[in-house]
């Protein structure tokens, strides 16, 4: 970092780092790619909020966004593909951690945090699929509700998470709040904690 040693970016990184941890093969930067995807998702997601309308108008508002708005299709595609990429890189990241046995004590808490983050990523991907508001999202909501009902107290949980979707449309206000605010927010803060633990531990090669 050299001259940045007194700056914030200097402090984000540990003072000392093991030479082995800097090798590309130690991490393949998979966590870094996941976080990059999350940043892209946050920026494009905020832009989509300006036009997206949950509920009845979900599909119509998205097709208008795709076809009428300048750069609307680009922004929506970026959001979609970054989401798909994040699920893949997060999964590969976990495979790497298991492979190099980085889940054992000292790093155990961060492994558990990562497991929670994986769950959140999958839920975010699923809820995003429902928010598209087409017929296939209605079917996906029906399947998801049926799965939720298998849990104890599942009917209540299903209503809290899904709202009242129809077989033709899985986009509801409830799903919107979960996707945009709760799931994404919790995932964001958990990631900061995740990175802080890495900083406290050994540190890794930055992306």
């Amino acid at each position: 970092m050299g001259k940045h040693n007194n700056s914030f970016t200097g402090h984000m990184r540990p003072r000392q780092i093991m030479a082995g941890a800097l090798r590309l093969r130690a991490t393949f930067c998979l966590g870094g790619f996941s976080f990059l995807a999350f940043i892209v998702l946050t920026i494009t997601g905020v832009l989509l909020l300006f036009y997206y309308q949950p509920g009845e108008r979900a599909f119509a508002s998205l097709s208008e966004l795709d076809s009428v708005l300048p750069y609307g299709g680009l922004i929506r595609s970026l959001h979609f593909w970054a989401g798909q990429l994040m699920v893949i890189t997060v999964f590969l990241h976990m495979v790497r951690v298991v492979w190099s046995r980085a889940y054992r004590p000292l790093k155990e808490l961060n492994w558990l945090t990562g497991v929670a983050l994986f769950g959140l990523t999958v839920m975010l991907d699923y809820s995003g699929y429902l928010l598209r508001g087409g017929q296939e999202s209605g079917s996906a909501a029906t399947v998801g509700q049926a799965l939720f009902r298998l849990l104890p107290g599942g009917q209540a949980l299903a209503t809290i998470f899904f709202g009242q979707p129809t077989p033709q449309n899985g986009s509801t206000i409830g799903m919107y709040v979960w996707h945009v605010f709760i799931l994404a927010g919790v995932a964001g803060f958990l990631q900061l904690f995740h990175f802080w633990r890495i900083r406290r531990g050994s540190g890794v090669r930055p992306l």
């Binding site: 832009l47 036009y51 208008e64 009428v68 708005l69 300048p70 750069y71 609307g72 922004i75």
Partner: protein, 127 residues
């Protein structure tokens, strides 16, 4: 990525983002055609790659907005059968746009035409 790359990326995205945020949703399509460019006939003719179709009516120019009233697919005029056909669910309309067959129940919607200084000004109907 370095700080400079991020800065360049940020500056480059200002214009697209501002275009996106200023864009109007539900903007209606418009077209302007020189009268000399499009000699009108009794039969419907399509204007370029748009959904506007024009013909010479009894006393004035008529324009059709070629969207099916069922689910909004693009219909086209078949001059041999003298009817409008929707490719999606097979709705048929007669030459004046009245529904004949299929899921569509309402007639095709006319576009507004104004003649001005040798131009036809077309405006998509708000549905």
């Amino acid at each position: 990525m370095g700080r400079k790359a991020l800065l360049v990326l940020g500056v480059c995205s200002i214009y697209p983002v501002s275009r996106y945020l200023r864009g109007k949703e539900n903007q209606l399509a418009m077209a302007q055609i020189a009268r000399s460019e499009m000699p009108l006939q009794i039969k419907w003719q399509r204007h370029g790659q748009t959904r506007f179709w024009l013909r010479q009516g009894n006393d004035r120019v008529e324009a059709m907005w070629a969207s099916c009233t069922h689910l909004g697919c693009e219909v086209s005029y078949d001059s041999e059968q003298d009817q409008w056909v929707c490719p999606c669910h097979g709705s048929l309309y007669n030459r004046d746009g009245q529904p004949v067959l299929g899921p569509a129940l309402g007639p095709l919607v006319r576009a507004e035409v104004k003649e001005k200084d040798g131009f036809y000004l077309l405006q998509q109907p708000p549905v």
